[in-house]
Amino acid sequence: MDAARNPGENDVSEDFVRELTDHQTAMLAFIRALMPGSSGARDLLQEINIILWQKRSAFQIGTSFKAWAFQVVRYHLMNHRRRLASKGWLVFDDALVERISPALEADPGELENRHQALHHCLAKLRPKDRELLQHRYASGAPLEEYAKLIQRSPGTLKATLFNLRGALRKCIERRFHDQGIPFP
């Protein structure tokens, strides 16, 4: 019966949740870009989700959710730099965050296109190269352990990863071009 007492409130929440859901990936990408090499992006995203939910009444449906949410992300990183640094996470300083944020923000659509292109490019890799990438991004285990298991040197694997990323970047760009999508 809440809807009767506050007509439209539930609809507003549903719209808000939809916006929040639609921007989860974009926010996560933004956090990862501002905290390179840190493993806690998902944790931080959840902290920010809760803040956004608490502040939801301040968001006006119809305005840019992305602009509002990314601003909250920036402020959260700035306000919690010391705490994040204590975990060993590298966070850019405030001035740099302000300066480069616009360049690092990506739309959900761009990320989706990139992900689809990546999917396409991964399919072209040799199985052992895919396994190396999967190990790197899924396991979190040191490369040295994997190197020992497959009887390769860690240095070789690092070089392979370097080359793979380079190849994937080129392949993704090509895929954008082939599909007529402007590459950002």
């Binding site: 019966m1 809440d2 809807a3 009767a4 007509p7 439209g8 409130e9 539930n10 609809d11 949740v17 859901t21 639609d22 990936t25 996560l28 990408a29 990862r32 870009a33 090499g37 493993s39 998902r42 944790d43 959840q46 809760i50 939910w53 608490q54 590298l90 001035a95 740099l96 300066r99 480069i100 360049a103 690092l104 659509g109 761009e110 990320l111 989706e112 990139r114 992900h115 689809q116 990546l118 999917h119 399919a123 396994e131 990438l133 999967q134 190990h135 991004y137 899924a138 396991s139 979190g140 285990a141 352990e145 994997y146 020992k148 298991l149 497959i150 990323r165 994937l168 970047r169 950002p184």
Partner: protein
Amino acid sequence: MRLSDHQLVMAAFEGTLEESGFRDLQQRLSEEPELLALYRDHAMLHHSLCEEFEGRQMAGESLPVPAVRPQRWLVPLLAAAAVVALCFVGWKWLSPGKPAQAMAGCDFSADATASLDGRPALDGSGFSPGSRLSVERGWVRLNLPRKAVALVEAPASLVYEADKVIRLENGRARFHCPPGALGLTVKTPSLVAIDRGTEFGVLAKPGGRDEAHVFEGEIELEAVTGEGTATLHSKEAAGVDGEGSIQRMEAREQDFVSLTPEVRVMLEEEFNSGTFETGRRPAVGASHWRLERGSPKIAGDHLEGTDFEAYFYLPTDALSAARPVLLVTVETVPGGAQPFHTTGWSGFSLYQEGYEVCFFGDSYGPEETWSLDVKRSLVPLTPSARMTGPRTMTLRYDRRDGTVELHEGSAPGGNPLVRSKLLPGLNFDQIRIGASPGASLGVKKVTVKAQEEPADP
């Protein structure tokens, strides 16, 4: 761009950059647009790779090579599970007294039985990433992000793995993906179907052959075993077995339930048999009639009476964001010892929390015509031309803006007889049929339903 720039940026994302190196990177990013562009490109790739492979890990896909110390790779998995749990708890805590907000909304067919993470699921339940939905009877419609829709038929079980990834463990489901939802991925034990802007169906038969059927647009199909892939276009389908063999076939759209319109019938009663008394159950409806005044009778194929009031409780969760339109259709016939049009009233009312919100039929007053009485208004609204006698009428209420209309016929048309406004967001909990002393009502059929959009707008 120098090779060392690539190495510098990659080292940042590998977490192998020393503090001095990080300071150097910061300094250069603020001064060198080219490096910033390179950094962005790597950041996006890093993110995509994390999403691609972390998602697999969270979904329980095993790593290609077993780790020597398996407990180490459990850490991120457990951490991710803890984050999801914390998020859910936080969400519930921050929204006291309301249903948990979720990533996808669930609507159920009237006969559905389903469970969400082992607990009975209710209409309107939320479906969050990481949750498992089991449909034992009927169907469940999932309103996914970006307006994608999945309709899952019983018996079926599926896991909402991530924002755009669904694992159909067994059963049959149909998917509608508008352009904004491009890339929705459906996994089964034997195949992976990736949407390319389309409408398609997936059938998962563990131990058998899984199938993907495209009704519109195209999908990319991958076999889970081996490296088989295929692109399926409109009207094409393929089956994939456990060994990765892909066999093409014609799509069978008729095997999949239609997605629209979304309808939930709250009450359907034809007064053509039995007796009318408190406790009478309609053909469709979760409650029963409650006779509070008078003694209407079933005569042949209809109910008729004078000076009576009978109520029926309606489910308050039927009207929702997914089904915002309420339609009340009544088929009235001559009946009873008194006339339908009198200075009293005869007709149908919708209630919320004990208050009559609106009435349609013959209202109080001397005008002999069908009318709509919005109780906050001073006088009932009458059509421009009088509408008299027994008729089939449909009341339409739109929860989104509060519009209420009265139409002649069994469905709303383009020109309502009268139109008014109620509060938006109402959830009616009772319907009353009846007539005042000195007036009669004859009713053959009453239907109350909530739906996505009118069937014949």
